[in-house]
Amino acid sequence: MFKSLSDIIKRIKKTGLPFWEIILEDDSYERQVPKEESWAKMKSLYHEMKLADASYDKNLRSASNLAGGDGAKVSEALEKGEILSGPFMGEVIAKALKMAESNACMKRIVAAPTGGSCGVIPAVLITCEEKLRFSEDKMIEAMFVAAGIGQVIAERAFISGAEGGCQAEIGSASSMAAGAISYLKGGDGNKIIHAAALALKSMLGSTCDPVAGLVEIPCIKRNVMGAVNAVACADMACAGIISRIPPDEVIDAMRETGLALPDSLRETGKGGLAQTKTGKEIKNSIWS
């Protein structure tokens, strides 16, 4: 089990194996299962992501009746050519919304790393596969890259909003996704971890303040931010930009920042958006 991203890089240098394979090997060793089994499991998770993406239903509404249908609006605007950020980013936005909405509507999704942040990784990966025509094997490899980054984040910091705020959920997802895209773009180990660092850095301090305590507002739209940020950071890293603060130190900063966040901003529904006038009205209307 890796305690730092730099340990992964050291292993890459020592063995000559690619990032994804090092994570696969490590998992097979840690859980004492054949590599084929771990590969098959990751493949099935990717299939579940694609299935969840494909089975989006724009007519569903969540428990609060406030979530649902937004992903379809972006798809519509995309078809009309009205999305400024272009067809690739437009699709990323639509997919992130759709997955997060499906989650809010009690549909089947893949936690990555959590339910609240389940839209980020599939939004970028599935869009990459569709638009850039990677082989399925390459997509599974990218999943291992994302998982390896997430594992180090969980080891050094946290991946739940209750512990570290939204930077720990959407921030971690964005970081994992950024590393995975860098890999797909042909980035080496260093580009992968610097993309991950750039993405996490941009999300430091983000709070967990869901209205009425539900994984809806702001969670669904924050998935979009995490996904879009991941693409931008992978582009930066692959263009040769590095994080001036080394990636492992960025993760440590996320931990410190999370610990410093007051209780009210860590999934308690007692601060931020949850405590706005409208946020409280929504809460009262749901629980009355």
Binding site: M106, T114, E155
Partner: protein, 220 residues
Amino acid sequence: MNIYDIIGPVMVGPSSSHTAGAVRIGLLSRKLMDENIIKADIFLHGSFYATGKGHGTDLALVAGLLGMKEDDDRIPSSFHIAEELELQYSFSGIILRDVHPNSALLKLTGISGKYMEIIGSSLGGGRIMINQIDGLNVNFSGNYPTLIVHNIDEPGHIADVTAMLSHKSINIAQMQLYRDGRGGNAVMVIECDQEVPYESVKWLEKVEGVVKVSYLSLLD
């Protein structure tokens, strides 16, 4: 945490802690009961109580008690299914001492009249912990086949159990002992690397001084 705690589980939304974790608490409880449940009084603590409803925590716990896993598409309709299968359930709030904010107390009655009280917590990302069984502390995750032996606190019982396990070539991954006072009630929680055969569990139930044996199998 392994990489499949990071990506995964496949789950019905919205929350890995409040929905998926809740299903797992229910399912583990169902497995520990080892028979169909006909009555479940469920007490929600902390954040489970405060925000559980909007997260489907109630639906999820009942789904688990009916034997569903966290990726079961039928979770949203678990109340209807409970009615069909004649599982009576109730929900109330409770304040439990020294537990994680996402916790529930389940008072369960099985079809044979068997009764169990279980406290479980959802730790985040779908990972859970069973904290208490019938008023005695235990702490296990349900990631291993787990044997839980309630016995009278007197010499020899630990040896009885470990001798049986070694006889069956079962490796102990972790073992915890708790008691409520010298000579009182004690409990052993043994997480194993292999499954414990059914007849060995039944044999243990007959050993003198053993009050109750529960076994969590990972087999479906």
